[in-house]
Symmetry: C2
Subunit: 381 residues, 2 copies
């Protein structure tokens, strides 16, 4: 069982508050293996939606939204009043990792135990970090071609998945550990961090601009800027990442919220203006191709197999976790997830010992709209 | 006063039905100069939304929606069982023109008297057509760079506006006059028709495909296909017209319904697949540029004058109609229309005798979003 850190006498949430929240439908009980926990669907007792109440009333705080700036020149002096660090923004999914009892768990943004991340984290994280500080929470991004949630690959991970620890918290406290403390812990336990791109000043945007353009040319998503002396953070994404996102999701044009596309188009336009790249024919073509390639694949898929979807594969260390993941997908998977009935299957060769799961998300609106159009139906706008 | 056509003993709508519809808010009284009429906001007595009840209970039927086909190969045999005519589709706004008493009026799709179209129709239509048949209704498209409603120019009209009569109806009857009758009337009164592109058969799509590709290369919007022997119609648009629409409305990305963009992207993808043009770099670049040009203009406008909008100008024969139009814009103009306070102004030179009105539509969401982004606000998605 975990030992409370020395001096930690505050408890996250008392039993009466939790019970009332459960009765009101603002919290929900969940079970993963031996762990019973309660994820918050709304803010309760000062803890935001996505927080999780653990055994003993201890709380895993929600990971907060990071504000975005769209203009470097105007946004840096407005958001920062001192030096900040620029960390590479990883295009993956966000988990919070902690040890509870003898086991390590990874929680999704919404507060679910993520069977996939929970299973794979030990491949990347030295568990002794939790012996040093049992109260510790690692905030990490999981990225790569073989995650069950993300479309497309990441500039940082070519194969399978990678885990990048970008923040640390402690139980019951919503704030992040200071930058120096996080870096120190990461070094001692060789935790994988996102690439660090230096320290900058808000009144001198030029070096950061140059850094951004270099990242843009490599297809990197962007930067998270973290103030050195207070909790201020801001994210800033590259133009190329907007195009990449459109490319990998073009086949879901009608199934994603339209803001997915319009927000990225707006960011791209503002990025190009700020960096003097408007009218660049190479970028124009890349954007047009981004939309058209995904849609052409969708049309071809509709013609060939009668539906439009996206295939995913992922690997598990433990057979039991693969089964938990499949069950989790069945229970929560919107967008019509279909798990290959043969999964989980044992991998062979270099991956021997892992269990592979294959699944498909079907895009119902693309499927229906294309089927109707291609069989020659008439449509009224 | 109009004379009922010989033998026309049916009347469109009796007074009791109209009165009940007015009480229920399904019809609304409107006044234009001396004409009192009632536009239907919902279907009433068998007449669809957009129909107008005229003096004496006579009815101007609504112009029906024309179905769209997205695949020629599959759609032609499915929608047509005999020969059809292919007429150029004009990218403008739809009006229905009739004579009531001594005056000619043009009604918008929604059933408003359109002061602009009403004013300008005599420049293009010989009024004697209504002496020949006082029951006649001309269905026409008004297109060109100088309309107050349409963005961008039309392939068919380079200057000012043009009027294209594409259908004829008669009072109280929802159907269209037969093709031969329409053509005959148009010829005798030299009415302007859309370009005609021939007669085709549903079981032989190849000649029509060639025609479409030729129109596409000229930037024409598309075709309306009209069955020769029954009322079946279908429209089919070119890929280039989808790109054109995106280009002229890129600056309204956040202010138009997102379906404006997603539907056109889908149609373009299906068009390119059907005509073997997927992967064409020139089309990819044109699409990317279509999005980026309009947005770059919006960003520049936000930086320069603090808002995003679109300027329009139009001309009137009659000063009174210009004033009616301004009043109509004030009463109905969503999207924040601002009429230049100096309007109407007399034109000079070749346009002498006309009254010019200048107006701007402001795009509030683009304006607000860009102002916030460019002043460096942080934003949460």
């Amino acid at each position: 069982m975990y030992a409370p850190a020395a001096g930690a006498i505050h408890w996250g949430m008392d039993a009466a508050t939790l019970e009332q929240a459960l009765e009101q439908g603002r919290a929900r009980e969940q079970q993963f293996a031996d762990l019973t926990s309660y994820r918050l669907l709304e803010s309760v007792g000062g803890f935001a939606r996505g927080s999780v109440v653990l055994p003993g009333g201890r709380v895993l705080p929600a990971y907060p939204s990071i504000a975005r700036i769209q203009s470097l020149a105007a946004g840096l002096p407005r958001q920062f009043d001192g030096p900040f660090h620029a960390e590479e923004k990883i295009d993956g999914f966000n988990v919070r990792i902690l040890r509870e009892g003898d086991a390590i768990y990874a929680f999704s943004r919404g507060g679910f135990v993520c069977p996939f991340a929970t299973d794979r984290v030990p491949d990347f994280i030295d568990p002794r970090v939790f012996e040093e500080d049992p109260e510790l929470i690692l905030c990490a991004e999981i990225a790569g071609p073989d995650t069950p949630y993300m479309e497309g690959t990441s500039a940082q991970v070519e194969d399978d998945i990678g885990v990048f620890v970008f923040d640390m918290m402690r139980r019951d406290h919503a704030g992040f550990l200071p930058h120096a403390k996080t870096r120190g812990m990461a070094e001692r336990f060789a935790l994988p961090l996102p690439p660090q791109h230096g320290r900058f000043h808000p009144d001198d945007p030029e070096p950061l601009r140059e850094q951004i353009l270099e990242l843009d040319s490599r297809g990197v998503e962007g930067l998270v800027l973290k103030a050195e002396d207070n909790g201020v953070r801001a994210k800033y994404v590259t133009g190329r990442s907007c195009i990449n996102d459109i490319r990998v999701c073009g086949g879901q044009l009608l199934d994603l919220p339209p803001e997915y596309f319009t927000h990225r188009l707006m960011r791209l336009a503002i990025f190009l203006t700020e960096h003097g790249r408007t009218g660049d024919p190479e970028i124009e073509r890349a954007l047009g191709r981004a939309f058209l390639e995904g849609m052409a694949d969708a049309v071809a898929s509709s013609e060939r197999i009668g539906h439009v979807g996206q295939h995913y594969r992922c690997r598990f260390r433990e057979h039991a976790n693969a089964l938990r993941f499949i069950e989790h997908m069945r229970a929560t998977g919107g967008r019509h997830v279909r798990v290959d009935p043969a999964s989980p299957q044992p991998e062979s060769g270099a991956r021997e010992g892992y269990w592979r799961v294959d699944l498909e998300r079907r895009f119902d609106r693309m499927t229906g709209t294309l089927a109707s159009a291609l069989r020659g139906d008439s449509q009224f706008d």
